[in-house]
């Protein structure tokens, strides 16, 4: 219609008027929107006031430190400071990917995460399902308390327990092996034993506590679903498979997304407590590598590059997991 010349010429003066009107309307709209936002703020200011501490925390502890990330691309020296250090582009990243220790750490991280996910992720779900089947309330409470307990013990003490348990002289593991005539093994110096011990320790420490999330999800399932199934003739086993598990599946998926996002966040204090140079070969992960390079070796810029790489990979992983989940299961974190 606008390509019709007659229309344009005949509507000439009118169009101008219209343009004016449109501009005026837009101005008014904008003004009224500002007004609305103002009114809204005035009315709900308490809610926004409550947000302030969280925003401050985010800014001070998460956003402000990002300023320092730039040293990953700089030849950083403490004396010159972050801003004054010269840019050097991707040099640190090149060094990183030519560093055998870093590549080893990356490989170890991925392997340990994968095993952790494979063996560690299902255990809390399994525990929650088992707790749910316990009918005796007293026994259930006691069992739950016992498996929650390790979560509340400091990692240092947990590591102490593990080291003692696997010690070749007095450890319970070697004692038991001794009964069967097996010679004492110094487990914590053997690279091939580090991963099973580390992953086993993680499961022992956290699985019980992680099961709380699933127990809460199970508690949210409407009891009439089970009653209806009972009348239909379902066994406890069938109810678990056909009602409980599908009902908590969204929770499982969310936990999985979070877990995948944290895949590079191996609990590195536990590694530091358990590893030794003899087991670096299988035990050294990106975070322990960063720790040794950055804090112990003083190569802050190089360590920042490794850390940034870690963060970028984690970000991509979360986004991917979330997208896949949204597409296939209608469940997503955002």
């Amino acid at each position: 219609m606008s390509s019709d010349p007659d229309f344009i010429s005949s509507a000439g003066p009118k169009t101008e008027e219209l343009v004016f009107d449109a501009k005026e309307a837009q101005r008014r709209r904008r003004a009224s929107r500002m007004q609305r936002v103002g009114d809204h703020l005035k009315r709900e200011w308490q809610l926004y006031a409550m947000l302030i501490p969280t925003i401050l925390w985010l800014v001070i502890f998460l956003y402000k430190p990002m300023y320092g990330l730039q040293i990953a691309f700089k030849d950083y020296s403490i004396f010159r400071g972050v801003a004054a250090s010269p840019w050097i582009g991707f040099e640190h990243f090149e060094t990183l990917f030519n560093n055998d220790q870093f590549l080893r750490a990356l490989r170890n991280t991925l392997i340990m995460s994968a095993y952790g996910l494979l063996f560690g992720f299902p255990v809390p779900i399994f525990l929650a399902l088992m707790f749910n089947e316990i009918l005796n309330q007293k026994f259930k409470k006691t069992a739950q308390t016992i498996v929650y307990l390790p979560h509340f013990i400091s990692s240092v003490i947990i590591a102490g327990i593990v080291i003692t348990a696997f010690s070749p002289s007095a450890g319970i593991v070697n004692t038991i092996l001794g009964w069967f005539g097996v010679d004492a093994v110094y487990f914590l110096t053997k690279p091939e034993w580090f991963r099973p011990i580390f992953i086993g320790t993680g499961i022992w420490q956290e699985a019980g506590f992680q099961s709380i999330v699933y127990l809460a999800a199970i508690a949210g399932v409407s009891p009439t679903l089970y009653e209806s199934a009972v009348v239909d003739g379902a066994s406890r086993w069938q109810m678990m498979w056909k009602i409980t598990i599908p009902s908590i599946l969204p929770t499982i998926i969310i936990m999985l997304i979070i877990r995948i996002g944290n895949i590079l966040e191996i609990s590195f204090e536990m590694i530091i407590l358990l590893y030794q140079p003899a087991t670096y070969q299988t035990a050294d992960v990106v975070n322990t590598f960063i720790y040794r390079q950055g804090l112990q070796g003083g190569q802050y810029d190089f360590a920042a590059a490794a850390g940034l790489f870690n963060a970028v990979v984690a970000f991509i992983l979360v986004m991917t997991a979330n997208t896949i989940s949204k597409r296939y299961s209608r469940t997503s974190l955002w």
Partner: protein, 367 residues
């Protein structure tokens, strides 16, 4: 004989007894409605029949078999719950098929059953949808489908329409009735809604505080309530209750209250009851309105006349208590304009013992 018999059924939670010994015999193909105020033990009774609650005492027989200790799945009953109990992760077809899959029926048999039930309930276009994408009425229908598809001996319904809005409730009520006619399965239906009970039931069981107050057809209960509780519970608007005393009149017993009198039936229990304090029960529908010209009327203080078209509701008070009249309007508008009281035939006045609330014997209204 797929009847259900309850003999002295008791339910106690610890020391608290909530159902106090219920006797009920449901005939094959009968539609029985348990009705009563909230908390009177209807659901508990139904759940004991389903096997979801243990029976504390008494005997339960389904289809001639003693089933107190029989697992729910082996009682051959199906239950429809108030909140539908649909599996959110399954589509309509799978929800309906759930019970059959549990019983490991063949794929073909399941498919054809689901199709048939879908057709009966008008769910065919929705078979692929998840419950979240259905309206309340459709969800209710799926819940019924889950029950029907198993072809049980007995249907148990626990307030299946309570979550629906008034219009849908009326519609689904009719549908349940039709379904019962078509399938002819023994049904026990729990509701707190007396209109649902009146419209659906072959027989109504009125419950109160864990007891059965009365059992009978809807009209039996409406015309001949056994006591003031049943009289007040069934019918809407509810029966008017007046405290009165029986005195001897010129033409047999008369009820006297606040200086006014109503003629009563000449039956022995009333003739011998002179001086007795009673409660009169007067249905809003059973009175004739009267204006100034009728001297024999019971006088009322009229607050409000609501004209609803073919009928009118008159809100009045009698000795300070509310009194409601429901009457036809056609040909009566001149009376309604000047209404000041009512008249009633003696046999339509129900007389209850003032203390026990029980109907005095001998007053039977024929349907």
């Amino acid at each position: 004989m797929s009847g259900v018999q309850l003999e002295g059924i008791v339910k106690a939670y610890g020391a608290v007894q909530v159902v106090h010994g219920i006797d009920l015999e449901v005939q094959e193909k009968e539609f029985v409605v348990l009705v009563g105020p909230s908390g009177c033990g209807k659901s508990t009774t139904l759940r004991m029949i389903a096997g979801l609650e243990e029976i504390s005492d008494g005997d339960l027989t389904i289809d001639g078999r003693h089933v107190n200790r029989v697992a729910p799945k082996d009682r051959d009953v199906a239950m429809v719950f108030q909140n539908y109990a649909l599996y959110p992760h399954l589509n309509v077809a799978d929800n309906i098929a759930f019970g059959l899959r549990i019983r490991k029926e063949s794929k073909d048999a399941i498919a054809s059953s689901v199709e048939e039930v879908g057709e009966i309930l008008g769910l065919t276009p929705y078979l692929e949808r998840r419950p979240a994408d259905l309206s309340g009425g459709q969800r209710q229908r799926v819940a019924m489908g889950r029950a029907i598809v198993r072809r049980p001996k007995v249907f148990l319904f626990d307030e299946p329409l309570s979550n629906l809005d008034a219009k849908l409730r009326t519609q689904m009520r009719a549908e349940i009735k039709r379904l019962h006619k078509r399938l002819g399965v023994t049904s026990i239906y729990v509701t707190h809604d007396q209109i649902e009970a009146m419209t659906l039931a072959d027989r109504i069981v009125v419950m109160h505080d864990g007891h059965i107050e009365q059992i009978g057809t809807p009209m039996e209960l409406f015309l001949n309530p056994a006591n003031t509780f049943v009289a007040g519970f069934l019918g809407s608007p509810p029966m008017n209750m007046i405290s009165a005393q029986v005195v001897a009149g010129d033409a047999g017993p008369v009820a006297e209250f606040g200086g006014q009198r109503i003629q009563l039936q000449q039956i022995p229990s009333l003739q011998n009851g002179v001086g007795r304090p009673v409660t009169l029960g007067i249905r809003p529908e059973f009175v004739s309105v009267a204006d100034q010209s009728d001297p024999a009327k019971v006088r009322l203080e009229v607050d409000l006349v609501e004209t609803l078209g073919s009928e009118a509701l008159i809100h009045a008070s009698l000795m300070g208590d509310p009194f409601v009249i429901r009457t036809d309007t056609v040909g009566q508008m001149h009376v309604l304009d000047g209404i000041s009281g009512f008249t009633i035939q003696p046999h339509l006045v129900k007389v209850f013992d003032a203390e026990t609330g029980q109907t005095l014997p001998g007053q039977v209204l024929e349907q």
